[in-house]
């Protein structure tokens, strides 16, 4: 089949159902009973998770079925990767999971470095760990702030997103010039060395954060309304979580302590002492929240240790400007704030990849949604969506 025989019909306007043509949406829910109603949480909704559409079948206010509809941000990244050279691909990879762009760059670079067999200098590895962990803290702060907004608490957003995350973004701006999409971690090392005094500023930031985390706990974690809305909602047992392919904080909240930084350490993670927080309440929304809240503490520990141990030296290995990795295929993985971010790269010896597939953790985590919200009320759907912490850029790529 080389060319399609039927012309492409343009996308229909979902939800624009008139009585004349019956229900028009493509995600079909069979057999709506007499008491039941279909509610469309459309691609535009006030929660800040992006363009996700969930079609809910309700019996009163209780959900009986939920069908997520993704693809509203599908930009064709994997096809574009085949048309871009390897350095151009790093730019595209930033926009994948835009809340933790450093980790995306890193995953792609790990894959190419395995093919090219490049030696990465030690200082570059430490800088990679520092920016990767700072980005994890920033991503969890966005989670903290937006989760509060979803449940109705507006103040934590101003503290975590508006004050503390901006300090991290200032640090990133000093080192690479951008706030969100960095294009900083390159094949062979990092783009630039840290400017004068940057490491001291990072240490000062880590010191400032400790009393602020106490504030976070007072605002949200120990808030009785927050606890009521989260405890016991959306429980996911460990076997089901594993069978669905969940990884990252979502899986650790359900029990198994699977963390790539500890189980299969990459880069220089062997040199740091940190714990892996695990949920104890059966994998409900509060567990998922607590795991991420504790991960902020652990990441701060890692950043402080990295700042103390960082050696001096070059920050870029011996890589030319145009590199042609040998023909082959490779899997690379790292622990992103959302889970196991994998990169599968097939190269045919030219300067452009033959196939680049991104194992996006959010895409696979989102499959848990339809199981989790059965039997909950509509307001709890928002809590479950928020606690899964997905990014639509990664879901749709």
């Amino acid at each position: 089949m080389t060319s399609p025989t039927t012309p492409n019909t343009p996308p229909k306007n979902h939800g624009q159902a008139t009585l004349a043509d019956g229900p028009v949406f493509e995600t079909k829910i069979e057999q709506v009973g007499e008491h039941e109603m279909i509610l469309n949480m459309g691609p535009q909704h006030p929660s800040t998770h992006g363009v996700l559409r969930v079609v809910l079948k309700l019996d009163g206010e209780v959900i009986t079925e939920a069908v997520p509809d993704v693809g509203y941000l599908h930009r064709g990244l994997e096809k574009l990767s085949e048309n871009r050279t390897y350095p151009m691909n790093i730019v595209l990879s930033d926009r994948n999971d835009y809340l933790s762009a450093m980790n995306n760059n890193w995953a792609f670079c790990l894959a190419v470095e395995k093919l090219l067999k490049v030696e990465i200098p030690s200082r570059a590895e430490f800088i990679r760990v520092i920016v990767g962990e700072l980005n994890r803290i920033a991503s969890h702060m966005v989670f903290y702030g937006t989760y509060g907004i979803d449940l109705g608490a507006f103040t934590p957003f101003l503290y975590s997103f508006g004050r503390d995350r901006e300090e991290i973004l200032d640090l990133f701006e000093e080192i690479c010039g951008a706030r969100i999409t960095y294009n900083f971690i390159r094949v062979g090392g990092v783009m630039l060395d840290a400017p004068e005094g940057w490491i001291e500023r990072v240490k000062a930031f880590v010191d400032r954060m400790a009393p602020r985390l106490v504030e976070y706990d007072k605002l949200l974690t120990l808030n009785p309304i927050f606890i009521d809305r989260n405890l016991g909602i959306g429980r996911l047992p460990a076997e089901k979580a594993l069978a669905l392919g969940l990884t990252g904080p979502n899986l650790r909240a359900s029990g198994p302590a699977l963390d790539l930084r500890k189980d299969h350490p990459y880069s220089v993670y062997k040199e740091f002492h940190f714990d892996v927080p695990v949920g104890k309440g059966g994998g409900d929304c509060y567990d998922r929240f607590m795991v991420r809240r504790q991960e902020i503490t652990e990441s701060l520990k890692i950043v402080r240790q990295a700042c103390e141990k960082i050696p001096s030296g070059p920050v870029m290995g011996k890589v030319g400007r145009v590199y042609r990795p040998p023909a082959g295929e490779v899997f690379a993985q790292l622990e992103a704030p959302r889970g196991w971010l994998g990169s599968y790269l097939v190269s045919d010896g030219t300067e452009r990849p033959y196939r680049h597939h991104i194992r996006a953790p959010s895409f696979i985590n989102l499959q848990a949604l339809s199981d989790l919200v059965k039997g909950l009320k509509v307001a709890d759907t928002v809590a479950v969506l928020g606690s899964l912490d997905f990014v639509l850029g990664e879901v749709d790529r």
């Binding site: 941000l73 096809k79 730019v91």
Partner: protein, 194 residues
């Protein structure tokens, strides 16, 4: 300041017993009301949405310009398209625009909604939101900083100033004519010496 005709601000100000009296036209008053309380729709598509959220947050507080996000298009008068418009999403964008009551404005934020951006050769991206809805202000950047979004809102405010014009143009500056423009250009070139 006693009475006088304040050409720049389009008001006459008179000092009277007990305070000050402003006399102005309905045009000016309505424009001032509209531009000082632009309420955008919370419509974040992709990475630019994070910068839009940052501009609503505490460091780059947008509320001091009167900009406050509304969740429903029926109560919003600005649509900030922040992020890539994918063809699957395009009918929804068009529908949201049609649901907004007039006067409504559109700001296209970021390279993806200006012209397709880094996805210029993708099979599923609409190359620019102006293929779907009319746009008032374009902001370049990937993503543009919150300060750029500020500049866009200020540009939009200047545009709103000229919006509801009863045709009289008494208090608005008159743009230069063609000959005057030519003379200005020649003077600038000769001053540069190139």
């Amino acid at each position: 300041m006693t009475s006088g005709f304040d050409i720049l601000h389009g008001l006459r100000r008179h000092k009277i017993v007990g305070g000050e009296l402003f006399l102005t036209t309905v045009d000016f008053f309505v424009d001032w009301g509209r531009k000082s309380s632009i309420w955008p729709l919370t419509f974040g598509l992709a990475c630019c949405a994070i910068e839009m959220m940052a501009s609503f947050a505490s460091k780059f507080d947008f509320d001091r310009m009167g900009v406050f996000p509304r969740p429903t298009p029926r109560q919003a008068d600005l649509l900030i398209i922040s992020g890539t418009v994918v063809k699957k999403m395009a009918p929804a964008v068009e529908r949201l625009y049609q649901e907004m009551p007039s006067p409504r404005f559109v700001v296209s934020m970021g390279a993806c909604s200006n012209c397709g951006g880094p996805y210029y050769d993708s099979y599923s991206v609409a190359k620019g939101v102006d293929k779907i809805i009319p746009v008032d202000v374009y902001i370049p950047g990937c993503p543009p900083r919150p300060e750029a979004l500020y500049t866009a809102v200020q540009t939009l405010q200047e545009k709103i100033d000229a919006y509801w014009d009863a045709g009289k143009q008494i208090l608005k500056p008159v743009p230069p004519s063609e000959e005057a423009l030519k003379k200005i250009n020649e003077a600038a070139i000769s001053a540069r010496g190139s």
